[in-house]
């Protein structure tokens, strides 16, 4: 793989989408948000299994942290209840904080790991926490010379 995308915008607007792979939810441990670590066949020659595994496992651990029921969540819940939940107008919930962290992590992974390989992760929150969407782009030889139709991803910002 020799394609080098300098940023994700380039990826979105210069490459053509081949397919999208959807990593489904893993319900084996209940309704907690968790994604299957089964390696999809479409990514066989695009990315190393270990990298993919690490991404999914890290995401899963973030979700576990967000949905953890313990001292902090009780405190937050009781405090919020006592103030009739008005405190949420000025305070960020723990889940929201973790979601920000996840968003940052996905951005970082895309830049470092996936974009160089012509892949793009979509934050599950944008898909209703149902699936982890991985867009697979054409494996192109060069970046700038391709006058391909810039097929923007669904939900991409318009200019």
């Amino acid at each position: 793989m020799t394609t080098e995308f300098h940023n994700l915008q380039e990826l979105r607007h210069s490459a053509s989408l081949v397919t999208k792979v959807f990593i489904q939810r893993d319900y084996s441990e209940g309704i907690v948000c968790r994604f299957l670590t089964k390696f999809p066949s479409e990514l066989d020659n695009r990315i190393e299994r270990s990298l993919f595994d690490e991404t999914v496992k890290t995401l899963n651990s973030y979700y576990v942290e967000a949905e953890k029921i313990g001292g902090q969540s009780y405190l937050e819940g009781c405090l919020a209840c006592c103030t009739a939940y008005i405190v949420f107008l000025c305070m960020e919930t723990r889940y929201e904080k973790v979601l920000k962290k996840i968003s940052g992590y996905i951005q970082e992974q895309n830049e470092k790991v996936y974009a160089p390989r012509g892949l793009l992760l979509t934050d599950p929150i944008e898909r209703g926490m149902r699936v982890l969407e991985i867009s697979v782009f054409e494996d192109q030889g060069s970046v700038s010379s391709s006058p391909s139709s810039g097929m923007s991803l669904a939900g991409g910002s318009a200019r």
């Binding site: 309704i31 009739a84 008005i86 209703g128 149902r130």
Partner: protein, 362 residues
Amino acid sequence: MSAVMITRKVRKWEKLPGKNTFCCDGRVMMARQKGVFYLTMFLIIGTCSLFFAFECPYLAVHLSPAIPVFAALLFLFVMAMLLRTSFSDPGVLPRALPEEASFIEMEIEAANVNVPAGQRPPPRIRNVQINNQIVKLKYCYTCKIFRPPRASHCSICDNCVDRFDHHCPWVGNCVGKRNYRYFYLFTMSLSLLTIYIFTFDIVHVLLVCFFTLWSVVGLTGFHTYLISLNQTTNEDIKGSWSGKNRVQNPYSHKNIIKNCCEVLCGPTYPSVLDRRGLMLEDISPSVTPAAPSSSNPTPQTTKTTAPLIPNEHTPDDTHKSIAASAEESPSPREERSPVSKVPPLASPETDAETSLAKDKAH
């Protein structure tokens, strides 16, 4: 030739499918029908306004100003919970985008490859194992997704809602994962508020007619107790049938229903007084008031200090006199009269006897 795309920035809520209505530029999300929700608001605000206007001044002055203050806080909490339940996203699952929908379709097709031609394909169900139990995930044809466990499609809002509880017209929204706790706190705080208002209304009424209520209700309760045990107040006060060493109440049927029936629905007994019966009265002038005297020879004149109260006699005396007159001969009556205890009050019998005796003496 490239097509010129004129685009504008829109908020995502404007493009959401489903039958929700949005307010405040997407901050508020409700169902389409809001009529019953307005009714809920009216009922709660109306009742509480009446309470604050009419009851609270009295309660603040006569009991404590903390009472209306707490009621106000509770009312605010109820309203906050109601609005939070009604205005928030219940946990709507966004519909699958075309790529995801076709991906799922392909998976279903692949799974149905074994179905022979002509036969109906099996319903779209995906089995997952949760905590060693098989749970079937149904496919939603509207949203084109396999619903997560405990999710359901609300036909009123036309959305799949995660951990769907129900669609509540009173709050004008679905109740699902994200707003269930607000819904529960709303119902619980509203119950407390209702009970609180009701209690203080009763307290107000109670303070105004406290003693009447206490006496009447207390008394009724006490007599209900007596009836059920077939006891009289007198027996209860004296403790006639209570205590280990005493005899058990022989009049009780040992059955509350039977006791009640006897007391309340037993036969109506007639009066034995015959108050309106007619009788002869001796009105001769020589009749002088009789005097209580155990010694016979004492002349009647010395006894004129006794007041004359005709027709008045004690039951004991009457009883004895009647019995005596009914059963025995005249002679024992004469002997008996000086011996028997004669009350200070004059009695016709004794009057008659003494007058007879006096006549005979004369």
